[in-house]
Amino acid sequence: MPTQGKRDEPAFRMSRRKMMKGVAAVLGAMALPAKDAPASVWESFFQKNFRELSPDDLKGVLARLEKEYSEKYKKAVKVRATPPVEGILYGYGLDLSRCIGCRRCVYACVGENNQSRDPQIHWIRVLQLNKERGVDLEDAEQYYNPAKVPEKGHFYMPVQCQQCEYPPCVKVCPVQATWKERDGITVVDYNWCIGCRYCMAACPYGARHFNWKKPGLPSAEMNPETHYLGNRPRPVGVVEKCTFCIQRVRNIPGRYTACVEICPVGARKFGNLLDPESEMRYIIENKRVFILKEDLNTRPKFFYFYAT
């Protein structure tokens, strides 16, 4: 099977037998479920959009998914659908003067949010920029790989979903498979997304990622504490994105996101924008704050700043 990044390999490398086997397998289970498929497959096929599920429907869906994932990953998987907490609007801060570009956040995020390991999907991308040129994306390097960071003359800018107040990705979705929740988090219903990737074209921050292949997630590395709209395992052919660790932050008491928790230099901040006493409000009111691509009027709730 071809793997990601190796598209230079010839496309036809399979034997005839493998091909026939493939044809038979696919013909059987082509786009639609087979006739003798278990009831859960049909339930999943006819499942309504998350926002149209009645409380009873939702209970059934969560139970079905928990059963399916628990069997697949051979551990007790929880799938919750914790609603937004009233009075909270999440905001994120990133201190560019502190970030050293170590990418610990990238991998903590992958571990927490059950991203595919093969091929790798990263919700956070860290850009290496030149101090001389400032925040110039045309000059950004994502694949820097020195023995030690930070490198002289450079600074680092992690980019992930900016949780826009006016998200262009939501506007363009032809089936309303993605939307902004009341607490400001933009989520995707992986059971409703048709995989057209229009949202990826619309996102100005490269925050959306597609499952080009069935995600490779080893059982041992699977995080069983999941949220329906967040880190539950994803099927092939749908789009996914950062949800501010919805499975963590919506708990009472809430937990910090995995990237905030792991950051060794304290460059990452998180809090409630509606709470005047929160750290985020302090930063916005007292530091030199900027948002990415301000001219596009997306109103990110992800604030970059220089603390020192």
């Binding site: 099977m1 071809p2 793997t3 990601q4 598209r7 010839p10 496309a11 036809f12 091909m19 493939g22 044809v23 397998a25 696919v26 082509m30 786009a31 639609l32 096929f45 959009n49 149209e52 991308r125 850009l127 994306l137 045309e138 000059d139 950004a140 994502q142 980019v159 262009p168 506007k171 363009v172 979705c173 032809p174 089936v175 309303q176 409703w192 997304c193 048709i194 995989g195 057209c196 990737r197 229009y198 990826m200 074209a201 619309a202 996102c203 100005p204 921050y205 490269g206 959306r208 990622h209 597609f210 080009w212 292949k213 069935k214 099927p235 092939v236 052919g237 749908v238 789009v239 596009l296």
Partner: protein, 430 residues
């Protein structure tokens, strides 16, 4: 008994498409082979996921959507030929309208197939159907596109079938029914291409697409490629079948292409001037397309080929001597079809995504599977057009009509694709 008459007509068409000369069978069989290969490629893609394409997160749309965009233009322009047919009172107006509409139908079928093979979850297509799923109308331009493309498909199919069904029953189609529909199909053709342009145009994240000149450029280039394709098809059709299409009509279409190409090149020039002179960060995609960026220049040879082809074709169609010479005319048509296919296909889609929103350059070129699948869809489109013509041509020439009992079909034309000298020997309407 109208139901019985419709059934008789339908049964007749089934018998008709199964009959034909050796050339017809060979052609259909060749197309079926390519369709089969394309289908296998699609099964392979379904099994492994879209990873077998060269698309990735950076370039999330590729060859499929490029072909889709080009074909929307063909579908639109095929019908727009009805305008000059009316204005200049061409004799074969009915023929031009029917052939154009059938081309539009075939192109629409290809468009819908290209979208289908591009989406990650074809099993969830029903999410787009209002009532069953949720169509995000009017917010999403993709929802608009779904609506207008389907209306356009049904509209053209209705007009063409209505005209043919009446001619088959040896009566003139009711003008008070066809004329309003034909007139409506003109703004509908403009609208499908405009909506498709807006689909790209509305994305502020992609400066290459986010230019207001995009929709006019789409229309101008469609007015070149669609008619160029029609000129070639007209010649093929009149050579191998009994349909008569006069030279003046063909030369007039060629003249219209020259004007459209001028507008197309002018709009392109306006865009190039604005980007290069103002030299902002938005220049990068255009630079990537025209000269390459940071050593990445996969698209450069293609776009310059397209430019040279388009400019050459413009002059061939502008000068009356070359326009009215079938050798140079056909060269011009081929140049335009290839030129616009590059310019409005990969040349439009890929630079919209390269460099990506965070400045990364990922060079996209389609994989073998993508190419085979694409060929399969083109073969499907040609197959649909061939079968439609197989029915339409004998009806238009009076060689397929209803018998005296009002039900059984009479098939005079058992060959369809005939050698030209053969045609001359047989008297018209035997």
């Amino acid at each position: 008994m109208p139901m019985r008459m419709i059934w008789g007509f339908f049964k007749g068409t089934l018998v008709l498409v199964a009959k034909g000369s050796k050339a017809y069978y060979t052609w259909v069989f060749t197309l079926l082979c390519f369709m089969g290969i394309g289908f296998l490629a699609y099964l392979y893609q379904l099994q492994h996921g879209l990873i077998i394409t060269a698309m990735r997160d950076q370039v999330s749309w590729g060859f499929y959507i490029s072909n889709f965009t080009f074909l929307v233009g063909v579908a639109a322009a095929a019908v727009l030929l009805v305008i000059p047919a009316y204005v200049y009172h061409w004799k074969p107006l009915k023929e031009v309208a029917v052939l154009g509409e059938m081309l539009a139908v075939s192109a629409m079928v290809m468009c819908l197939l290209f979208v289908t093979v591009d989406i990650g979850r074809p099993d969830r297509f029903w999410h787009l159907i209002p009532k069953f799923g949720i169509l995000n109308f009017p917010q999403s331009l993709l929802a608009w596109d779904v609506v207008v493309l389907n209306i356009y498909l049904v509209l053209n199919l209705t007009i063409a079938v209505y005209i043919l069904y009446n001619l088959y029953h040896k009566r003139e189609p009711n003008k008070s029914f066809t004329t309003p529909l034909l007139l409506f199909s003109i703004p509908a053709a403009v609208s499908i291409h405009t909506v498709t342009a807006f689909l790209y145009n509305g994305l502020a994240a992609r400066p290459f697409w986010n230019a207001s000149i995009l929709a006019p450029r789409f229309l101008a280039s469609a007015f070149c490629s669609g008619p160029a394709l029609m000129i070639i098809l007209f010649q093929v059709i009149r050579k191998y079948t009994r349909i008569e299409i006069r030279n003046e009509a063909i030369f007039k279409v060629a003249e219209l292409i020259a004007y459209s190409m001028f507008i197309n090149l002018f709009l392109l020039g306006a865009e190039v001037f604005k980007e290069f002179y103002s030299n902002t960060v938005h220049l990068a995609p255009l630079q990537y397309l025209l000269e390459g960026l940071k050593g990445h220049n996969d698209l450069v040879p293609y776009i310059w080929t397209a430019m040279i082809f388009n400019v050459s074709a413009f002059f061939l169609f502008l000068i009356p001597q070359t326009r009215e010479n079938y050798v140079t005319l056909n060269i011009g048509c081929v140049l335009i079809i290839i030129g616009v296919y590059i310019e409005k296909g990969m040349g439009l889609v890929i630079p919209g995504l390269v460099p990506d929103t965070l400045g990364e350059i990922y060079e996209y070129s389609p994989t073998g599977i993508e190419i085979l699948l694409t060929m399969g869809i083109w073969a499907t489109g040609l197959f649909v057009y061939t079968l439609l013509l197989r029915v339409a041509v004998p009806i238009l020439t009076g060689e397929f009509f209803v018998g005296d009992d009002g039900r059984t079909a009479v098939i005079v034309d058992t060959e369809f694709i005939r050698r030209a000298d053969h045609l001359a020997e047989q008297s018209y309407r035997d």
